[in-house]
Amino acid sequence: MVKMLGKRIRLFRSRSIWVRKVVQLFFLVLIALIAVNHTLAESGKGWSWLSNASLHALCPFGGVVTLYTFITSGLLVQKIHSSSLVLMGLGVLLAVLFGPVFCGWVCPLGTVQEWVAGLGRRLLRRRYNHLVPAKLDRVLRYARYLVLAWVVYVTAVSGTLVFSAYDPYFALFNFWSGEVAPTALVILGATLLLSLAIERPWCKYACPYGAFQGLFNRIRVFSIRREPSTCRACSLCTTQCPMNIPVDTLTVVRDHQCISCLECTSEATCPAAATVTFSTGGKR
């Protein structure tokens, strides 16, 4: 709680991973400022104390799509720089250790979707994030792998960043620049609109980088683990999961959609101490 204009305002839910929200806000503000600085720098202005790198240079997915070209010819795809490969490497390191923390803690598009979700939750209450029929939802969750395969293929064939014409993340931080394709703006608008009914729709169904990061859920060192002996079977962990993973039926979460937000753990939602934890497989 903070006191503003004489009123006490609650910034975070009483039991939520507030430090994650702080980290998300930090990266969103940082990327937004760099994107603005990039535009200013093109007209000879800009802040010298801040990077004016292009958004492509700061996107780890650029490293993934240029990998084929880099391995086969030693070159990078147009508009991609070595920074993207470095960020891809750091993203992989984090994912091997902790799963897709980049999605849950860093990605600004995920953050914006979560903010819109707050509004959606108020509008739809318990129906929020439970509107897509389970069978359809299960199939659609794999669509992002088709997107990943398509993006990697067309980038390798064309040597250009074809995906930027569809990328809502690029549109979010460049809509003022005139560089954004109308298709990307439409996809961004659709993503934000859908976020009123579904939590993180882009991440769940279409994000190719989320698909790539999700693969590491199978081998990650630290995982979400549930201790059945102390579990009260209240299902709060499942209810609270933004990605609709049935945590209460699992002992170790290896689902490819987990974003390591920790909202299901005993530190946040689970009412039983040390029951849902973020841990390795050894003794606690």
Partner: protein
């Protein structure tokens, strides 16, 4: 071993910023082009600059330094008569050749450099790339193209079109010298340029020019995409040859213009 959220937050931030710091120290972190193309990694030309890595942000001066081609020669080849050709950015070529029936841009410079110096280049990736007739003339007069590159030039030389005066002050001016003899390009030069399909032509423009949705769908073999989508982007996304698709669509456009 368990981790709580605060420790995870610290680890995430430290790994990302620490990783960037370490990679900067090692010289791996670059967020913009160094203006030095990557080198060939194998073959007889290993260690030499590879024209395939020339970027749109390069100037004629950057290309000149990397490949030892005078900036004045590059300017002559691409019809740029700026007072200081050294500072002319390759990405401005598309604006300069806005009325060209085929796209002249950074890829054209890559091919020009490869042909001028006789450097290896994967011509299979250059099916949709063209160089201006003036560039072909420079290559034929001064360059060292391989036999394969010479054959490629014969079918990938754009018809002579004088560049449009650049709107950016001091970057370029219209060509004043006589353009070299045009080299025939399939379906080029004779049609009305207002209804000529170019790299930036959208499906919406095709509809505006009178081509029916059914005719477009028959040619592309699928449903009409977003009208705002460029035909070239569609071809790339579908793995189709842009030139082949363009010729088929251009025929449909011409049928509407001159039935």
């Amino acid at each position: 071993m368990s981790l709580n959220s605060k420790i995870l937050a610290v680890v995430v931030v430290v790994v990302l910023f620490g990783g960037i710091a370490v990679s900067t120290t090692l010289g791996w972190w670059a967020t913009e082009s160094t203006k030095t193309p990557a080198a060939y990694t194998e073959g007889d030309f290993a260690g030499q600059a590879n024209p395939a890595d020339i970027r749109g942000s390069y100037t004629f001066g950057d290309v000149s330094r990397a490949f030892d081609i005078p900036a004045a020669t590059l300017a002559q080849a691409f019809g740029v008569t700026a007072e200081e050709p050294d500072t002319f950015a390759l990405k401005d070529l598309e604006t300069l050749y806005v009325d060209s029936p085929v796209e002249i841009g950074t890829a054209s410079v890559r091919l020009f450099v490869a042909c001028y110096r006789g450097l290896p280049y994967d011509l299979a990736t250059a099916a949709e790339t063209y160089v201006p007739a003036s560039a072909a003339a420079v290559i034929n007069a001064e360059g060292q193209p391989t036999a394969e590159q010479r054959a490629w030039l014969e079918t990938h030389t754009a018809p002579a079109t004088a560049p449009t005066p650049a709107t950016t002050e001091g970057t370029a001016a219209p060509v004043e010298t006589a353009a070299p003899e045009p080299v025939a390009t399939p379906g080029a030069a004779t049609e009305d340029s207002a209804t000529r399909i170019k790299g930036r032509t959208t499906f919406g423009e095709l509809l505006d020019w009178g081509v029916s949705q059914a005719a477009i769908e028959e040619i592309i073999g699928g449903p009409l995409p977003d009208p705002a989508m460029k035909v070239k982007d569609y071809a790339t996304a579908q793995g189709l040859n842009f030139e082949t698709l363009k010729l088929a669509l251009q025929a449909a456009v011409d049928n509407q213009v001159r039935p």
